[in-house]
Structure formats: structure tokens, C-alpha cells
Assembly symmetry: C2
Homo-oligomer: 352 residues x 2
DNA sequence: TTGTACGCGTTATCAC
DNA sequence: GTGATAACGCGTACAA
């Protein structure tokens, strides 16, 4: 933990001024022997530029923040996996904020932009409150929101389209001959819950199927909630032949209950999840799931932000990422040969 | 994106000196009406302290870096999930480095400590090369290594114990009456591969079982490798009655093949994975897995680092986290009632 | 109690 | 080409 040398140290050692040192270090035109003297001194002393001092001078930190509710959430993780390399390639470091589903904390992150420790922010808000909108309007650095913000909000915006996603799933189920398709949704007062519920209603209408309240069950977005909800549904409507689940965890809970009840998947009941997380490919039967393009949204957000950091004067942009249906065994009949979707590295290197 | 006010701005506005502003902002004893004037001005202007300038002055960034090979890897993620809140509670931001299994990149991270953009680093090296050891010895900020470093390396060290972990698994299988336990390992030239192979040999000896080369198969740490390896094993030794897999992905591959071959799990063949990732609880049957305590290691590392940041003069410390066996359906017979291990939030908030 | 002045390490603008 | 010197925003001796 040796004390770090500064350009002053080097200047003395090389017998030149700090200005010359700076010039050499920045590749500005300099006489050859000055260059060599400086380089030699820098080498000997193990000089490394102080990023903090440069930032103070340049008011550029080369850091970007990514804020979301929970690092452990697979959907956010998928974004992170894409964001990280894009930023890195552009020479930016990534500062991670996990706000723990706390709205006040999210506002805090927005506020902290004033501290100027990052050049920009990518955030995935849980909800977009008035406080959010005020802070976004007054943000001290460029912000890209993954989610939906009202038109006119002065930030770049990347959206998924879960309504269409639900539509894709229901079309698929309909094509397979399923006519009594239940919905296991999350809370309708969350953005995703609302969108998925609306998508379900729309899709039914488009397919000419009646909307049947008894086929809809609400819970939270966790596996245990899925179990509870599906148990209730089966009880109420034993003739149900398909389940649209608002995310993969709920769908896993559905599989648990169907298995316990002796219903075959997909022969008796087809199951569709949402988000297409790693869990979908790992489960048995593997889970057909609607991908909302988390990875694509992450990449798009990173690119929008980088673009704006280079040229801040473009108008706010909106990118919508289309959903995609990943068909697997839980609707497709035979277990498709495992595709290796979940084939990411395990703990190699992380153990001992 | 209004231009940020500085203490100078506030000083003018409040009609006092910048020193007084600083004093008020830092809670130093100040006359009451000065306090009010300054607070009022700060409020009106929406003042926020410039973190970069403070860092330059205090040579403290309140940032800590976490470097590992791949954010997408569940084992690293488990660490991250624990590290993040610990750092946050202590007022530190988290800078994420995903080195992509590139040794040169890891060295680069170590080198970049000289830029002083973080106060410390937690790293999980893939391998520990001589270059690593040199850089660690010369590191310009405190480093905690998760993995194993040679004695005498001047850094805090947090280790797992996968040998004992394998031992736990084999004891369990032995107690269940299994006597022909195969090993599906990763490359023996990786640290985890070597340790797990050694653990297998040791455990067999301790149990009085013969070591049978035919029961061992080597591949990489991915699901497809697991499938390949287990197919070969079944072919060679149809009488095999248990499989110790070097990680959970391999184990998932094993389940794929066993299912296709009509072997019941666990009745015909018991399967044990390693790392106890979310996938273990999500799979069917759910997977008995050896937890190497990724979460605990992450937390321990964060605490060691924070401790050292407060008092840098303690001697290098070594923490070893014991493994734990998570027994689930792939060895336990009946499907245990789902435990909710995988009950983490889904995409709520991440969609649209 | 308050203000002046300096330093943290860099970059950049001047005269020389 | 090079060397003083002035910022960047903040904290803090020191003097008043």
C-alpha cells in the first residue's frame, strides 16, 4: 500500500515541471528527451493517474450508475449482464444501486446525482410516482429509465411490451386448442400487474373468447403465491386447461401444485411463464415463457446513455422492445431436447 | 440538468464566507443565524455536496469495488447479494467489475486501484498467478480475496472448503445406502476442479469405499457437459447408484440424461449438485446440493474490508466458511414440500 | 464565531 | 517546447 506518486513527484524526479509531465502523460507534443525522462520516472515510481483529481478538473467521472430494486432478481440481472460490457467497452465503470424496493431510496439515488460521482444513470423504477417525475425533471445528470414514463418526461425511455407478450402466449395456447386459460397475475396496482392484466383481457377479446372472472387469480409475484393462487383456481375451475402466469416464479408454483394434484403438464394443463429467466429452462418440465427482452432493454438503455453522454443535446428518445415467446415443454407436449438456455457457467472459479 | 451550485454560490447568496458554509454543512459549531441563512440558501439552490471534490480533499471515495469473472454466474451473484447491503449500510457505493474470465483484466483491476477511485476491493480471482501475487503485494488499497492465496500474502482472505463439501455429500449418500457413487467433475486444472476431485478421493477412503476410475468422468462446468459425462458413465457402469456433480449445472444435465434413460431419481440414482444455486430449488426433482456458503463468504469479505478501512493496521486475516448440505428431493426420496428457497421476487417492476 | 488562504492532483492557459 | 500559475470544489489551519 505504498504512498502513490503524483505528477509533482515525477516532475521532481525527472527534473521538469508538472506541466511537462502532464503533457507527456496526455500525449501532447513534447521534446523527445523530456518524454523519455518523464516516462522513465513514471515507470520507476509506478505512477498511476489519480482519477479523482482528473474528475474534479474535467467534471467527468467515467462512472455510470445502474439502480434497480434487487440484484438478486433474474430480470434485473439479465439487464445488468448486458449493461456491464457495453459500459466497460466505452471506458465507463458501473456503480450498482440496489434500492430494495424502497421508493424513498430510489428518489435518494436520483438526488445523489447532484454529488456528481457518476456521469449518468440507468434506472428501473418500481413505480413512477410524482416525486420521481419531479426528480427526473431536475436531474443533475442524464438518466435513462427502463420502464414507462409519461410523455414529456425529459429522459430517455426503454420499454417492454408485456401486453403484447401476454397476447403472444394466449395466441399460442389458443392454437394448441386451449380454451379455458387462467391468469395468475401479480398485484394490479403495480405497473407490470396492470399491463399483464390488460393484455389478458385484450387477447381474449381478440381471440373471441369470453372473459371469465373465475379464471383469474391475483397474488404476489412469488412462487408461494403462485401455489396458493393455482390451488384456488383448480378448486374453483377444475376444467381449466391452461395457465398464463405473470412471471416465471409464479409458474414454478403452478407446476408444483399441478404435479401434486396429478395434472399432467402440458397434456392436462399447459403453463406459460413470463420473463424467460434461467429458471424457465431449468425447471421440469421446462417452462414456456414470454421473454420481455430484459437483456435487450439493458443493452438499449446503456447505448442510449452512452450516446447522450457524448452528445447531450438530442431530444428524449423512446425505445420499445418487443416480446418474444420461448416455447418449451410446458406447452409443447414432448420435452423438447434441452436447448442449453440455462447453460451458463456454474461456480467454477468461485469455490475453492 | 441545472448547473450545480457550489459552496461559493451559497456563500454569496447567504452573505457569508465559504468557510462558514462548510462549517454549517458539516455541523461544526456556528452561530444560529448564520446556520439559518446558509441552510436557507442551500435549500433554495438545491445544493448537493460534490463527492469528487470531497474525495480529493479527504482521499476517501466511499466506494468499494467488487471484481469477479461473470455477473451472470449464480455463485458470484450470491456473494454480490450479500456484499451490496453490507457496504450500503456502511455508506459505501459498490463498483462492479466483471472481468470475463480474463486474467489480464483481473490484473488490470488491481492496477487501477492506483487511480484511487475506490477505497478498497473485494475480488474473486479465477486463478491466482504470480502476477496476482505481485500486484496484491503492491496494491494501493486494501484488498480482500475470496478464494485461496498463499500464506504470507498481505491481504485478507476468505475461503470455501469444497473438499469437506464433497465429503458431506458422500457421507449423506453412503448413509442412504449408496455404494457406487460416480463423480462428474470439472477440469482438474482449475482450483475448484482439483479440490473437488481430491475431496472425492478422500471421502471414499474415509468411508472405506474403493476408488474406481470408471466411476469418474470429467467435463466442463456446464449443463451440456454434464449430459455428455453422465451418458458416458451410465454406458460404462449401468449399476451406478449415485452421482456427485461438481456443480448444479452439471447436475441438471445429469437429471436430463437419467430421465431420458428411464432411471428414477432418487430411487435408482441419487444426484447431488454443488453451489446450491437458485436452480437447485427450481429443478424437478429439486436438487440436493452442497452449499459452499457463497453468501456467507460475500458477507465475510465485505465485513473484513470495512473493518480494515476503519483500522488499516490489523494483520491479514483468514476466514474459512464451512460447507453445508442442502438435502432435497434428488436424494431424499419423496419430494420435500417446496421450501421456497427460490422464492425471490420475479420481474415485478422490471416489465411494463 | 468568522473570514482568508492554502492544499488535495490534474488539466489548461498563458507568457517565455 | 517549457514552466509558472490559475482553476476545479471542498475542508481546515490560522488569524482576526
Amino acid at each position: 500500500m505504498a504512498q502513490g506518486p503524483t505528477i509533482t513527484t515525477i516532475a521532481k524526479r525527472a527534473g521538469v515541471s508538472i506541466a511537462s509531465v502532464s503533457r507527456v502523460l496526455n500525449g501532447l507534443p513534447t521534446r523527445q528527451d523530456t518524454v523519455s525522462k518523464v516516462m522513465a520516472a513514471a515507470e520507476e515510481l509506478g505512477y498511476v493517474r489519480n482519477a479523482v483529481a482528473r474528475s474534479l478538473k474535467s467534471s467527468r467521472t467515467h462512472q455510470v450508475a445502474f439502480a434497480m430494486a434487487d440484484v438478486g432478481n433474474p430480470a434485473y440481472l439479465a439487464m445488468l449482464r448486458e449493461i456491464q460490457p457495453v459500459l466497460k467497452a466505452a471506458g465507463y465503470r458501473l456503480v450498482l444501486h440496489s434500492t430494495g424496493a424502497d421508493v424513498a431510496d430510489e428518489i435518494g439515488v436520483l438526488h445523489s446525482l447532484g454529488e456528481r460521482y457518476v456521469d449518468g444513470l440507468i434506472m428501473v423504477p418500481l413505480r413512477v410516482t410524482d416525486a420521481h417525475l419531479r426528480m427526473l425533471a431536475a436531474a443533475r445528470a442524464p438518466v435513462v429509465v427502463i420502464g414507462s414514463v409519461p410523455e414529456g418526461t425529459p429522459v430517455d425511455n426503454v420499454r417492454a411490451d408485456s401486453r403484447t407478450g401476454v397476447r403472444l402466449a394466449l395466441d399460442h395456447l389458443h392454437a394448441l386448442g386451449r380454451r379455458r386459460v387462467g391468469l395468475v397475475n401479480g398485484p394490479p396496482d403495480t405497473v407490470p400487474g396492470a399491463a399483464r392484466g390488460a393484455g389478458y383481457v385484450e387477447a381474449l377479446a381478440a381471440l373471441g373468447l369470453p372473459y371469465d372472472k373465475e379464471l383469474v387469480e391475483i397474488g404476489d409475484f412469488y412462487r408461494a403465491d403462485g401455489r396458493r393462487a393455482v390451488a384456488a383456481l383448480l378448486d374453483r375451475r377444475p376444467d381449466i386447461d391452461a395457465l398464463m402466469c405473470a412471471n416465471d416464479l409464479i409458474a414454478l408454483g403452478a407446476l408444483d401444485v399441478l404435479r401434486a394434484a396429478g395434472r399432467r403438464v402440458p397434456q392436462d394443463v399447459a403453463v406459460v411463464g413470463m420473463d424467460d429467466t434461467d429458471l424457465a429452462a431449468a425447471s421440469w418440465p421446462s417452462l414456456t415463457s414470454v421473454s420481455l427482452g430484459s437483456a435487450e432493454r439493458g443493452r438499449a438503455a446503456a447505448e442510449l446513455l452512452l450516446d447522450r453522454l457524448e452528445d447531450g443535446d438530442v431530444a428524449p428518445r423512446l425505445v420499445t422492445v418487443p416480446p418474444r415467446l420461448e416455447v418449451r415443454a410446458s406447452t409443447a407436449g414432448e420435452q423438447a431436447p434441452p436447448t442449453g438456455d440455462a447453460d451458463r457457467p456454474g461456480a467454477d472459479g468461485a469455490g475453492a
